[in-house]
C-alpha cells in the first residue's frame, strides 16, 4: 500500500497517477475466520480495524451485502459531537470525539474532520437551563462546552434570523471541538487500514442464513458461500431486526424508521459552523460541506419504514425549519434528498452487548446518531468481542437494561422509538 501524503500525491501527479493501487483488496472468502463482522458500514469496518489494531485479532472478515459504506455511512449529515449527558453515553461519545481528532493520522486517510464548532441554539430561558445541565455535565467530565450569549452568537453567525423569528434566538450552547467530516472517507479509511492489517473485506456478500450448533452459530450462509466464524458480530444498522430474526432470536427493542437528509447546490462559504436547534416541534441541523453544499436534515418521517426514500411532508417541514433560522436559504436550491433506515431504540441509546447466543455479539440501535459514534463503536465492540465482557462505558448498553430499569434516555421520551431523534 502506498502511503498517503503530499509527497506521493505530487509524485503521482507527475506520473499520471499510475502508482496508486487498490485501497483495499477484493479477496475470496476463506472458509473460516476468528471473527466475522456482518455489515460493512462504518461500525463494522471500525470494529474490524480495532480488532486487528487493539487486540491483534487479524483473521477477521467483514461481510457486506452491497458495497462498503453504502448504507447510513453515506446517507448522513456528518455531524460529530459529544454533547451527551447520561452516564456511559457521555464518556463513550467523548472518547469517540477524541478518536476523531486523530483519525486522519491513525488511518492515514484524510477524513476531513473539521472542528468548526457545534452550535445548538436556544430560544427560551427554560431551554437555556436544560441545555446548561447537559453542558455542565460535559464540563465536569473535562469536555469542552460553553454558552454563547446573543452578542457572541451574532458576531460568529451573522445571518441567522435575529429579527422576525417565530421563536426568538437567545443564545447557544456550543461545543467547539465538534464539527463535521467527510463520511465516505471514514468508511474507505477504515477499510483500507483494516485491510492493511489483514482483514478481509468481502463485498457483495449477503448473509442468507445461519447454522446453529450447540447453541452457537457455527456457520453463516452467504451469497458467496458458507463462512465459519468463531465469533460473530452484527453491525447492520437499519436491518438489525431482520438479521436478528434470521438467527431466530425473536424481538428486539428496536423499530426501523427512516430519516431524510438534504443537500443543496454548492455555494461559496456561507456558514462556518454546525448549527442545530429544536423548538416548536421542529428539529433542524445544518452545516456546509467543504464542497460548498448546505447539508441539512430534521426529524424522522414519523412512521416506521425500511424504505430509503422520503416523503414530501417532511421535506416541507425541514425547509420551513431551515428558513425559520436561515432566511437567506430561500434562494438556495435543494439538489438532492434521500433517506436512510435507522435503528430507533426504546430509549434512544445504543446496544453494544452480548446476545442469547454465546458467540454472537450485537452492535445496533444507533438511532440517528451513529456517524459520530463510529470510532468508539468500533473500539468498544472490538473490545467486547475480544474480551468477552463489556467495558464500563457500555456496561449498561445491553438488552436487559429495560427490565433492570436502567435509564439512559437522553431525551426522556420514553419507550416510543420515533421520539428519540
Amino acid at each position: 500500500m502506498t502511503k498517503f501524503n503530499a509527497w506521493n500525491v505530487i509524485k503521482n501527479g507527475l506520473n499520471g497517477q499510475s502508482y496508486w493501487t487498490r485501497q483495499w483488496r477484493d479477496p475470496e472468502p476463506k472458509s473460516s475466520y476468528d471473527v466475522v463482522i456482518i455489515g460493512g458500514g462504518l461500525h463494522g469496518l471500525a470494529t474490524a480495524y480495532y480488532l486487528a489494531k487493539n487486540h491483534n485479532i487479524k483473521n477477521v472478515a467483514v461481510l457486506e451485502k452491497g458495497w462498503i459504506g453504502g448504507g447510513n455511512a453515506g446517507r448522513n449529515t456528518t455531524i460529530v459531537r459529544s454533547n451527551y449527558m447520561m452516564p456511559g453515553n457521555h464518556e463513550f461519545y467523548e472518547h469517540s470525539l477524541k478518536l476523531w481528532e486523530n483519525l486522519s493520522h491513525e488511518l492515514n486517510y484524510n477524513v476531513m474532520f473539521s472542528q468548526r464548532a457545534h452550535v445548538s441554539l436556544f430560544h427560551s430561558p427554560g431551554a437555556k437551563d436544560s441545555v446548561s445541565r447537559i453542558y455542565n455535565i460535559m464540563r465536569l467530565h473535562g469536555t469542552d462546552a460553553e454558552l454563547w450569549d446573543l452578542k457572541t452568537l451574532k458576531k460568529k453567525i451573522p445571518h441567522l434570523n435575529y429579527h422576525n423569528s417565530r421563536f426568538p434566538i437567545l443564545g447557544a450552547a456550543v461545543q467547539k471541538r465538534a464539527g463535521n467530516a467527510r463520511h465516505d472517507a471514514v468508511a474507505w479509511g477504515y477499510a483500507r487500514a483494516a485491510d492493511t492489517l489483514g482483514v478481509d473485506i468481502l463485498q457483495n456478500c449477503e448473509v442468507t442464513g445461519f447454522t446453529r450448533k450447540n447453541g452457537n452459530i457455527e456457520s453463516i450462509q452467504t451469497s458467496r458461500g458458507i463462512i465459519k466464524g468463531k465469533k460473530i458480530g452484527f453491525a447492520v444498522a437499519g436491518n438489525t431486526s431482520v438479521l436478528w430474526q434470521m438467527a431466530e432470536l425473536g424481538n428486539l427493542p428496536i423499530e426501523s424508521h427512516k430519516l431524510q437528509a438534504f443537500v443543496s447546490e454548492a455555494v461559496k462559504p456561507l456558514l462556518d459552523q454546525v448549527v442545530v436547534y429544536g423548538v416548536g416541534g421542529a428539529h433542524f441541523y445544518i452545516s456546509q460541506s467543504d464542497k460548498g453544499s448546505m447539508v441539512f436534515g430534521g426529524d424522522l418521517d414519523w412512521y416506521k419504514s425500511y424504505a430509503q426514500r422520503g416523503n414530501l411532508p417532511m421535506v416541507q417541514d425541514v425547509a420551513e425549519a431551515a428558513m425559520a433560522i436561515f432566511p437567506s436559504l430561500g434562494r438556495i436550491r435543494l439538489l438532492r434528498h434521500w433517506a436512510g433506515v435507522m435503528d430507533m431504540t426504546m430509549d434512544g441509546s445504543f446496544f453494544i452487548c452480548k446476545t442469547p447466543i454465546s458467540n454472537l455479539y450485537l452492535n445496533a440501535g444507533w438511532n440517528y446518531g451513529g456517524f459520530k459514534a463510529s470510532p468508539a463503536s468500533g473500539w468498544y465492540f472490538a473490545d467486547l468481542i475480544a474480551n468477552e465482557s463489556p467495558h464500563n462505558y457500555v456496561q449498561n448498553h445491553n438488552l436487559e437494561r429495560f427490565e433492570k430499569g436502567i435509564n439512559i434516555d437522553e431525551r426522556g421520551a420514553g419507550p416510543d422509538p420515533k421520539l428519540h431523534g
Binding site: A6, L140, R331, A413
Partner: protein, 985 residues
C-alpha cells in the same frame, strides 16, 4: 461584436427588444430568448468556470441538463447563484454574471488550477492535507483546518447573498385523475386521449412553451395544440417542473411564477410548490442527448447537436460557422441539413463506417471518424480527428464549433424516485424504464422511442394503460418498440487520447475526467456508488444528466463487464434543483409555526403583560410597572399574591371532558392515585405514569357529576395526554364506556390566589354563598355564575400554596371575566401575575413541573410516593419499581438554599460533593427563584438519597458554563407553609 442571430429563423418576438446586462456590460436580446440564446446571439462564448480546474465553460445544451452555463442572476438580496442560463428566460433588465472566477470568467486567476490539474486527480484530498507536508507530520485536526479554509473558498460555485430572501412563495394543492409530465408529442397525445375519455387531466411542462423537443423544429407551431388541450379542459401548467414522485401517486411540482418577469408584482409569489394527488401518472419527460469524452471536449464552442438545433430554430441563433458534428447515431442528420441551410459549413464525423443516410449533400459526412482533440483554450481553433477503428490523430479540421451526439438517455429520473431500476438496452445504448406495479406509465422518448409517430402512439397506449389500471377500461394496447433509427447506434463514449494527461471530461461541472474514472478503478472504487462518491461524478447541479452513462461505460470497459452489470446509481429527487424558499412556502418568519394565544391574550397585553413563548403558546411572563425589570416585577407579583391576591391566566392548561359510565374506572386506571372514592363536587390532583412506570404528567380531575369529569393537564403535555387517553379507550380498554373530548379551546381559565382571593371572588359571583369554606372547601368544585349571568366552574385548587381558586368560563366570556376579577382585585391592592411569579410561588411550595418531570423521574423520585396507590393497579404500576427504580440511592426531590444566602444560582446547576466536583455529580438543580417570602434565592432539584442523607452536609453547586459555583444546603422542598394551613383557610 458581430451577432450570431440570423434572419427568418426562430420563434422569438423580434419586435420586442429586451436589454440585459452580462458581467456589467449591456446587451440586447428578444422576447422569447433564454439568457443562453441571448448570450450566444451576442457571441459570448465563455460564461462560467468549472468547479476544480477553473476551465472556461461555454454553453453545452439548451435545457435542464446544462452543466457549463451556470451563472448568477440578480443582485443584492435577490442574487441567485447557479442559475442555468439555458432555462432562464430573458427579461428586460436582467442582470447576470459569471461565477466561480476572479476577476471574471474570461480571465480567471484560479485558472492556474488547470495547470496544476495533474495533482488534483479524483480523491487527492483524501491523501493529503492531514499534516505538515510532504509527509503529513503532526497530530490532530489543526493542519487540515488550515488547508480547509482555502479549499472551502475555492470550492462552491456561485455565492449566495446571505441576506434574507425578500420574495414570497406559496404552497398549493390539487387533485386529478391523471397527471402528464411533459408536453412533447407523447405527453400531448396521452393528455388528449385521457381528456377525451373524460379523465380530469393536468399537463405539466417545465418549459415556458408546450411542445417539448418539437420546439427545435423550424416548422413547429404549438398554438393549435394548445387550443385543443384547452378546449378539452386540460389544465396546462407551463414553467412547472415535476421534481419528484412520491408514494401513492403524489407528485411534487415547482411552478416558476415570476422568474421570467422583470419587475414582478411583489404581491405575487415568486414560485409555487404544488402537491398533486393523482390517480395515475404518465411521464413523457423526453430524452437527453449525451456528449462524447475526448481530449479538451469542454472548450467553449462544444455543444450537443440538439441544442444547436434549438438555438437555430427556436431562437434564430446560428451557433457556429464552421461546424463539426461528431456522432454515433442517426439523430444528427436533420440538424446538419438545417445548419448548413442556414449558412454554416458543416462536416459530420460519424463513428460508424457502414450505414446509409439520405442527405442533400449540402454537408460532408466522414464515415468512420471520431473527434480526437480540440485545439484552443478559450475558444475552438480546430479539431483533430481520428479514424474510429484505430484511434490516433489523423488530420485536423479547422472549425469554430464542435457539436456532439453520443446517443440519447431517456429521462427515467422520476421513475427512479420510486425505486424502479432502469434496464440497459443494448440496441439503443441507453437505460430504459422498467415496469412498475404503481400507477406510473412512461411514454415517448423517455421510454426510448426516437420517432414522433411512435411517441404519439405510446402516449395513447399510455393512457389506455392508465384507464385499465384505474379499472375504467379493459382495452388491449401495445407500446411501440424502443428505437426508431434507420441505422443502429454504435456505442461511443470515449475517444482515448494517446498522450498522457488527457482532459477528456465526463462531468463538465465537477471536472471529472476519464482519467479520474480510471484512477477510481485502479484504486478499487468500482461500484457505481463508489465511483460516484470518489470522483463526484454526477453530483453537480445537473446530477449527471449528461455524463453519468459515459462514466458507467468506462467503468464497465475497465472491468470487462457490460454496463448492466455495473448498474446505475439511483436518481434522487428533485429532478432539477428546487429553492428552499418554495418548499417552505408561506411558513416563514413569524409564520413558521402557528401562534396559540388564550382568549384573554389581548387583555393581558393591554394590561401590561410581557409575553413568553411556551410551546406554541404565548403566555404572560410578568406585568412590569414603570421601570420594573423582570426580577422586580415577579418579586412584587409573588409577594402580592402571598399578601393579598393575584390573578393569573391559566387557560393554556390542557382541558379534557371525560364522560360516560366507565369514567371513574378509567381515571382509576390512568392515575396512580385512587379516584374511586372522589365525590361529586370534588377535585383531585392526580399523576399519570407511562407504561414504563415513569411519570408522564400531572393535573387535576374534577368530578362534575356521577359520570362526568373535567380534567386539566399541563400545558406542554396536553396534546400528548389527549391522544394517549384516546388510544387507551380505542385500542386497549374497548370495554370501557367512556368518551373523551378536548375542551382546551372552549374554556378560559384563571387562577385567583392569595389570602384575599375569596373576598375578590365574593364580589364577582352571583351568589357568594356557594364559595364559602363550608360549601367550597379545599379541592371543592362548583358550577355557578359570575355576575352578569356568566356560567362558570370554580374549583378551590392551589398551585401557590395560598387560598386559591381556579375559575373557568366559556372562552367568549374571557375578557368579561378578566375585567370583573381585575376590577375587584384592585380593590385589595391585588395584582396580575405571570409565569415567572407563578414559578416562584410553586418553587417555594416544592411543586414539580416539566422542569422536574423530565421523562426519567419516578413518582418516588418526585417525592410523591404517597400518590402511588397500593390498593389498585394502574398504568405503570407494574413497572414503576422494576430493577434499579426501587433503589434508595436514587436522586430524590429536595429543596436547595445557597449556603451564603446572598448568593444566587441557576437551574441546570450540577450538585456535587465538596471534594468531588466532577462527572455526573450527585444531583441537579431544576428550578430556582428568589423567594420574596424567605428573602433569598431558593431552588428545587434532585439529590442522590434525598434530604435525609444530606440535610447536614454542605454540597457544591457547579455551573461551569455560567462560571458559577456555590455552596449549597439541602432542605425540604416544601419551603413555605409545609402543613398547607393557608390553602385550607
Amino acid at each position: 461584436m458581430k451577432t450570431r442571430r440570423i434572419d427568418n429563423y426562430g420563434k422569438i418576438n423580434r419586435d420586442k427588444i429586451l436589454s440585459f446586462r452580462w458581467d456589467k456590460k449591456n446587451y440586447k436580446g428578444f422576447e422569447g430568448d433564454t439568457l443562453a440564446s441571448a448570450l450566444l446571439a451576442n457571441n459570448i462564448g465563455i460564461v462560467g468556470r468549472s468547479f476544480k480546474y477553473h476551465r472556461p465553460r461555454g454553453i453545452f445544451s439548451s435545457g435542464v441538463e446544462e452543466s457549463g452555463a451556470l451563472v448568477t442572476i440578480g443582485s443584492k438580496d435577490r442574487r441567485d447563484p447557479n442559475v442555468r442560463a439555458t432555462t432562464q428566460e430573458l427579461y428586460n433588465g436582467l442582470e447576470a454574471s459569471g461565477q466561480n472566477a476572479f476577476p471574471n470568467v474570461n480571465f480567471d486567476l484560479a485558472g492556474i488550477n488547470n495547470y496544476l490539474g495533474r495533482f488534483f486527480a479524483a480523491g487527492f484530498y483524501y491523501k493529503t492535507f492531514m499534516g505538515i507536508p510532504p509527509l503529513e507530520w503532526g497530530k490532530g485536526t489543526a493542519i487540515w483546518m488550515f488547508f480547509e479554509k482555502f479549499i472551502r473558498k475555492a470550492a462552491g460555485m456561485g455565492s449566495a447573498s446571505g441576506l434574507p430572501d425578500p420574495d414570497t412563495y406559496e404552497h398549493a394543492h390539487d387533485f386529478c385523475d391523471l397527471i402528464v409530465v411533459g408536453s412533447g408529442p407523447a405527453g400531448v397525445a396521452a393528455a388528449i386521449e385521457a381528456a377525451e375519455k373524460k379523465l380530469d387531466v393536468i399537463l405539466v411542462e417545465q418549459d415556458s412553451l408546450i411542445g417539448g423537443n418539437q420546439l427545435a423544429e423550424n416548422d413547429f407551431d404549438n398554438s393549435q395544440i394548445k387550443n385543443q388541450l384547452e378546449n378539452l379542459g386540460i389544465k396546462i401548467m407551463t414553467r412547472t417542473t415535476a421534481f419528484g414522485l412520491y408514494d401513492n401517486c403524489v407528485v411534487g411540482l415547482l411552478e416558476r411564477v415570476t422568474d421570467h418577469i422583470s419587475a414582478p408584482n411583489v404581491n405575487i409569489p415568486r414560485q409555487r410548490f404544488w402537491t398533486i394527488r393523482a390517480k395515475h401518472i404518465i411521464v413523457g419527460a423526453g430524452a437527453i442527448e449525451r456528449h462524447i469524452a475526448f481530449n479538451n471536449n469542454d472548450i467553449p464552442g462544444v455543444m450537443t447537436v440538439n441544442a444547436s438545433k434549438h438555438y437555430l430554430n427556436r431562437y434564430g441563433v446560428l451557433t457556429g460557422k464552421r461546424i463539426v458534428i461528431a456522432t454515433n447515431n442517426d439523430s444528427v442528420y436533420e440538424t446538419a441539413h438545417q445548419l448548413s441551410e442556414a449558412g454554416a459549413n458543416v462536416t459530420v464525423l460519424d463513428s460508424r463506417t457502414n450505414f446509409e443516410i439520405e442527405t442533400n449533400k449540402s454537408f460532408e459526412i466522414r464515415k468512420g471518424y471520431v473527434p480526437y482533440n480540440i485545439n484552443g483554450s478559450k475558444k475552438i481553433d480546430s479539431l483533430d480527428i481520428s479514424k474510429s477503428e484505430t484511434i490516433n490523430k489523423s488530420e485536423t479540421i479547422d472549425c469554430d464549433q464542435v457539436l456532439l451526439s453520443g446517443g440519447w438517455s431517456p429521462a427515467v429520473h422520476l421513475l427512479s424516485h420510486r425505486g424502479v431500476k432502469p434496464k440497459w438496452d443494448y440496441n439503443n445504448a441507453c437505460f430504459l424504464p422498467s415496469d412498475t406495479k404503481e400507477n406510473i406509465t412512461m411514454v415517448g422518448s423517455s421510454r426510448g422511442l426516437w420517432n414522433k409517430n411512435d411517441c404519439i402512439a405510446s402516449g395513447i397506449a399510455g393512457t389506455t394503460d392508465a384507464l385499465n389500471r384505474l379499472g375504467i377500461s379493459k382495452t388491449n394496447y401495445f407500446f411501440p418498440k424502443p428505437g426508431g433509427w434507420k441505422n443502429p447506434i454504435q456505442p461511443l463514449y470515449e475517444v482515448k487520447y494517446k498522450k498522457s494527461r488527457s482532459k477528456s471530461f465526463v462531468d463538465y461541472q465537477h471536472d471529472v475526467t476519464t482519467d479520474d474514472v480510471r484512477l477510481a478503478h485502479r484504486e478499487g472504487f468500482i461500484s457505481v456508488e463508489h465511483l460516484k462518491r470518489y470522483t463526484t461524478l454526477g453530483m453537480a447541479n445537473d446530477q449527471g444528466k449528461m455524463g453519468n452513462i459515459i462514466g458507467l461505460s468506462l467503468m464497465a470497459e475497465l472491468l470487462n463487464k457490460e454496463i448492466p452489470e455495473v448498474g446505475t446509481t439511483v436518481f434522487r429527487p428533485p429532478y432539477t434543483p428546487v429553492s428552499i424558499g418554495a418548499l417552505s412556502g408561506r411558513n416563514v418568519g413569524k409564520h413558521f409555526r402557528p401562534l396559540r394565544v388564550t382568549p384573554m391574550h389581548q387583555w393581558n397585553i393591554d394590561h401590561g403583560a410581557k409575553m413568553i413563548e411556551v410551546g406554541l403558546y404565548q403566555r404572560p411572563w410578568y406585568y412590569p410597572k414603570e421601570n420594573e425589570t423582570l426580577s422586580d416585577s415577579y418579586i412584587r407579583e409573588a409577594s402580592t399574591v402571598r399578601k393579598t391576591v393575584g390573578i393569573c391566566d391559566v387557560t393554556s392548561l390542557g382541558k379534557i371532558a371525560i364522560q360516560g359510565p366507565g369514567s371513574t374506572e378509567f381515571l382509576n386506571r390512568i392515575y396512580s392515585n385512587g379516584f374511586s372514592k372522589l365525590q361529586v363536587g370534588k377535585a383531585r390532583y392526580g399523576i399519570m405514569l407511562r407504561d414504563d412506570g415513569i411519570v408522564m404528567d400531572d393535573g387535576t380531575s374534577w368530578r362534575l357529576a356521577e359520570n362526568e369529569y373535567f380534567m386539566t393537564t399541563s400545558t406542554g403535555e396536553a396534546a400528548k395526554v389527549m391522544s394517549w387517553l384516546e388510544e387507551l379507550l380505542q385500542t386497549r380498554w374497548t370495554d370501557l364506556n367512556v368518551n373523551v373530548t378536548s375542551v382546551s379551546e372552549q374554556w378560559a381559565g384563571v387562577s385567583i390566589a392569595g389570602p384575599k382571593s375569596r373576598e375578590v371572588l365574593n364580589n364577582c359571583v352571583d351568589d357568594s354563598l356557594v364559595i364559602t369554606n363550608n360549601k367550597l372547601p379545599f379541592m371543592g368544585v362548583t358550577s355557578t355564575f359570575l355576575k352578569g349571568n356568566i356560567p362558570c366552574r370554580i374549583a378551590r385548587i392551589s398551585f401557590s400554596g395560598e387560598l386559591a381558586f381556579e375559575v373557568y368560563v366559556k372562552s367568549d366570556f374571557a375578557n368579561t371575566m378578566m375585567d370583573l376579577l381585575w376590577e375587584n382585585a384592585k380593590k385589595y391592592d391585588g395584582c396580575l401575575y405571570g409565569l415567572e411569579a407563578l414559578g416562584a410561588l410553586r418553587v417555594e411550595k416544592g411543586h414539580v413541573t416539566a422542569a422536574e418531570l423530565d421523562g426519567r423521574v419516578t413518582i418516588d423520585d418526585a417525592g410523591l410516593s404517597k400518590m402511588a396507590s397500593t390498593k389498585k393497579s394502574y398504568i405503570g404500576s407494574a413497572m414503576r419499581k422494576r430493577g434499579v427504580l426501587k433503589n434508595n440511592d436514587r436522586e430524590i426531590l429536595v429543596g436547595f438554599f445557597p449556603t451564603n444566602l446572598k448568593e444566587t444560582f441557576n437551574a441546570g446547576t450540577i450538585v456535587c460533593e465538596k471534594n468531588n466536583i466532577k462527572g455526573q455529580g450527585i444531583g441537579r438543580i431544576t428550578s430556582v427563584t428568589y423567594s420574596p417570602e424567605l428573602g433569598h434565592w431558593i431552588g428545587i432539584g434532585f439529590v442522590k438519597g434525598g434530604l435525609d442523607k444530606w440535610k447536614d452536609t454542605t454540597l457544591v453547586g457547579a455551573d461551569p458554563v455560567r462560571n458559577k459555583q456555590m455552596n449549597l444546603k439541602v432542605v425540604s422542598p416544601h419551603m413555605i407553609d409545609p402543613k398547607g394551613e393557608r390553602m385550607y383557610a
